[in-house]
Structure formats: structure tokens, C-alpha cells
Symmetry: C2
Subunit: 105 residues, 2 copies
DNA sequence: TGGGTACGTAACAACAAGGGTACATACCGA
DNA sequence: TCGGTATGTACCCTTGTTGTTACGTACCCA
């Protein structure tokens, strides 16, 4: 969990996930999508691999990266107790609005 | 969004949110919960304020911090398209299991 | 009004993150 | 087997982050 949120802090890495959400991609394809040089992309991919956010399979000299969305489940779970709180707040807000409406009628 | 995920990358800050999830707390109370010195905590709180994850109100010389869970909604929304993907995967897995059961019967 | 309490900010040191260049590795095809 | 393609690793440099100490500010109370 810790490591996943850490990995998500970098905007480039998030964009990589976004690309992989649409389709698998080779390291080279991913690199083209960023203003930084290939080795940098390679390192970002290593981080994403490290926390299990992506999988790699080798196809000759290409490395094909695919998204592993399950790794984000833990973020979702981390969010859960907070979700309960903001939902309560929204409910309260809706109640407030409803009361306002009633008062106006 | 960007900034919120950035803020969440630090484990100390996440712990602070966890504490505030239970109850509002003063800067001093929060500081006691961490091995780091008060000024460090103060800066973490500034970050959390900056991204809207906490609110402060002043009570004499105390600063009382409260959680603002709504700020996490954007993380939840960022997660949404990925959630769709991992659910598909889980569904597929369940289907697979069901098929396995059928085959065994 | 002077002193204690509760915080925040400023300035600095130490370390980690992220980028670049150069190089190593592995594979394919002529 | 040699050259080209695709990619990762090593090393270095710069910048950002996180922690520390020292100091400033605001408030309460005797």
C-alpha cells in the first residue's frame, strides 16, 4: 500500500498507467509519450513493476507492459474508511437541502 | 488531484489523517504522535492544508485540525476507471471458478 | 505587563528522486 | 557472426523533501 501510493505520486507514472489502461505498450512506445529520455522511462517502469502496478512480458527484444489494476485495490481499500465519512457529509448536505426546500414550501 | 496524491505519498501525513479521522486534534497532540519534532509536523500540516485535506480553526493559542474527507473524492474519482478494470478481472475470475465447479460436477 | 504556552516560519544539513549520458545486454536478420 | 534494434543498468548531477535548531508571533493569566 505504502509503496503503491508512493509510486502514484509521480505524474509521469500516472500517465503511463493511463496509457496502459487503454492497451498494452512496449517500453519504447511509452517512452515516446514522454518528454524524458528512455532510461528515465525505464526507471519509472521499474518502480511500477516493483509495486505490482504493471506486468511485463518479453517478445523478442521488446518488453510489453500491461496494466495490473488489481494493485490499485489496496488504494481503494485505504480509501474506504474516508469514503464513509465524506458520504455522511454529503448525506447531511442533502438532508439540509431537503429541509431548506421544505421550509420554502 | 495531482497535489493530493503527492500529499498522500508521505506515511506520516497519512497517519495524521488517520488520527484526524477519529477526532479533531491540535497541532501539539498530533506532534506527540510522531517521532519527529514539532516544526516538522507543522510543515506536514501545512501540506495537508494546502491540498485541502484538513481544516484548521483557532482556539486561543491552539490550532485545532479537522479532517476534510471530501478532498479525497478526487482520488476516488481518479481510481474509477481502474476500478472498472479490476472488477472485470474479478468477474472473469469468478466465472472461471464457476466453470471449474461445473466441470467438476 | 511579564512569563509561560502553543504554534508557525526561516535557515540549514542530509538524503532521496528524477533527469541525463554512457554503456551493457539480448535478440533478430542478412 | 556482425550490425541494428530495443531495452535495462550504472553513474553523475541537480533539485526537492524531510528533518533539525533557532527564532518570531500570538494568546492567556497572574
Amino acid at each position: 500500500m505504502d509503496a503503491v501510493l508512493q509510486a502514484l505520486a509521480d505524474p509521469n507514472r500516472r500517465t503511463m498507467l493511463e496509457i496502459l489502461r487503454d492497451h498494452p505498450a512496449t517500453a519504447g512506445e511509452l517512452a515516446e509519450a514522454f518528454p524524458i529520455a528512455r532510461p528515465g522511462v525505464s526507471r519509472h517502469l521499474r518502480v511500477l513493476r516493483g509495486v505490482g502496478l504493471v506486468d511485463v512480458r518479453q517478445d523478442a527484444q521488446r518488453r510489453i507492459y500491461t496494466l495490473r489494476p488489481e494493485a490499485l485495490v489496496e488504494v481503494d481499500e485505504w480509501l474506504e474508511p474516508y469514503r464513509a465519512l465524506w458520504r455522511n457529509r454529503l448525506d447531511a448536505l442533502h438532508t439540509e437541502i431537503a429541509r431548506g426546500k421544505k421550509a420554502r414550501n
